[in-house]
């Protein structure tokens, strides 16, 4: 696999199930066993009901653009060739929100409310990153 020049997220213990699923090209988020709220990223307890019990569940992978920005400044050399590029906040059908990238759409064609679906990009042998594409 070619050298990947952007930051690769560390697989922290609490996020291990997320990265394991992503590697299988499946999107999972935590669901609270107390109240059923879906949440992302991983948290130790539910901010809604304070339950510590949660399970990782597969979600539909569909949702909509909640908001987005267009980054013009280079904070990391891995993104230098791409500026300006967009970062999107996706609201999944199940309610949880995720920071991500929208592939196949130019930054200025992105609209809030656009329906999107998850796609997967294999970064390294260990890490696969969920991104989104127009649904």
């Amino acid at each position: 696999m070619a050298e990947y020049g952007k930051p690769v997220p560390a697989i922290t213990p609490e996020m291990r199930p997320f990265f394991a699923a992503a590697k299988r090209h499946q999107l999972v988020v935590q669901r609270c066993c107390g109240c059923g709220t879906h949440r992302f990223p991983a948290r130790e307890l539910c901010s809604n009901c304070w339950s510590r019990e949660a399970e990782w569940v597969a979600v539909s992978g569909t949702g909509e653009i909640f908001s987005f920005n267009v980054m013009h400044q280079v904070y990391h050399p891995g993104f230098a060739a791409e500026v300006p590029y967009a970062v999107v906040a996706v609201k999944l059908k199940e309610g949880a929100k995720m920071t991500s990238s929208l592939v196949g759409v130019k930054p200025h064609d992105i609209r809030i409310g656009m329906p999107v679906r998850v796609v997967f990009e294999d970064l390294t042998d260990e890490v696969t990153l969920p991104k989104f594409a127009p649904a």
């Binding site: 930051p7 920005n69 267009v70 400044q73 929100k97 920071t99």
Partner: protein, 390 residues
Amino acid sequence: MNLRSQTAIAGLGITKQGKVYDYNHVGFAVEAVRLALADAGLRREDLDGLLLNPGLSWGEAAMGSFQLQQAMGLRDLRLSSVMNAGGASAAAMIQHAAQAIAAGVCTTVACVFSDAPLKPPATKAEKKDGGGSAGAYGFARGLDAAYGQFGVNALYALVAQRHMHLYGTTNDHLGAIAVAQRQWANKNPQAQFYDTPMTIEDYRRSRWVVEPFHLFDCCLVSNGGLAVIVTAAERARDLKKPPVYIRGMGQGHPGGDPGETLASGAVLAKATAFTMAGIALSDIDVVELYDCYTFTVLVCLEDYGFCKKGEGGPFVADGKIAPGGSLPVNTGGGQLSSFYMWGMTPVSEAVIQLRGDGGARQVPGAGVALVSGNGGILSTHSTLVLAGAP
């Protein structure tokens, strides 16, 4: 117990601001306190309280207030603490000091902010590594960094974009705020953009940092220090400068997702502060709002009730917040065009206006000032009502 006007700001110290490298963060803090004591006509032996809001350069240093106490050679303080609610800390520190003084815990408190994130101009070799304010404020964690989302600018941009989507707010609306504050800064010799005009065309042409924010939508990262001395109102009346009475104070920390609510904690903080002060919005003569971004000003004008939710854009578009307008906002140029000392920038400008020391930018008859602080991503909020008379 109503604390209305039981305490006052008796001293103000502002060091040189901006791209200045006279001191590190500790040195700027000491210099700010020295200036504030001199302004009040007090000696350092008069201080028995010290509150510090540490800027980024203080790092995660626990006990920064003790570090500052040691640096200043202060003995036997009866109140000492670090406070950090981000940009809401300044007004919150002053509230804490006022409460402690009114409760008889101590008598004279220095409330301090300092930061020195800017490094002297880099050599060619150093420049290749980036750095500057992007380095200091460009932090990111795990997944955000993987998607290329760095720094606070990007997070505020998401909230602003939703406001634009839902309410039709435009970049020219934000630009109207930037231009108005620049006009105020043009009249403020301490501002980094003193005597440097900017038109809406200049704003439109300024480079994008992260859309929807142009460069001139973002505050000026600054080196410097700023301190105020808080003491009992009765005592302040015998000191060198006219007291600036702390008539009302409040905080509001909304929780939840700011992208959903598009609101700050101003609604709650205002209710507490205005009730204590016994005032209404129509009693406010000058408005000093925390302006990490033009967008924050817009949201807070809505949340304080100067206009309805979502109508901030049209509200600012006609120039009413600029010099000569009906609602003077951020009369020193604010953090966008003067200097960025977190919440201390709006506090300091209110003190200057209420003392009548504003020079070319003085708002005639400024008797009551609204001061706000805002931290996180619209996460924390504090309000002060300051006044020239009790």
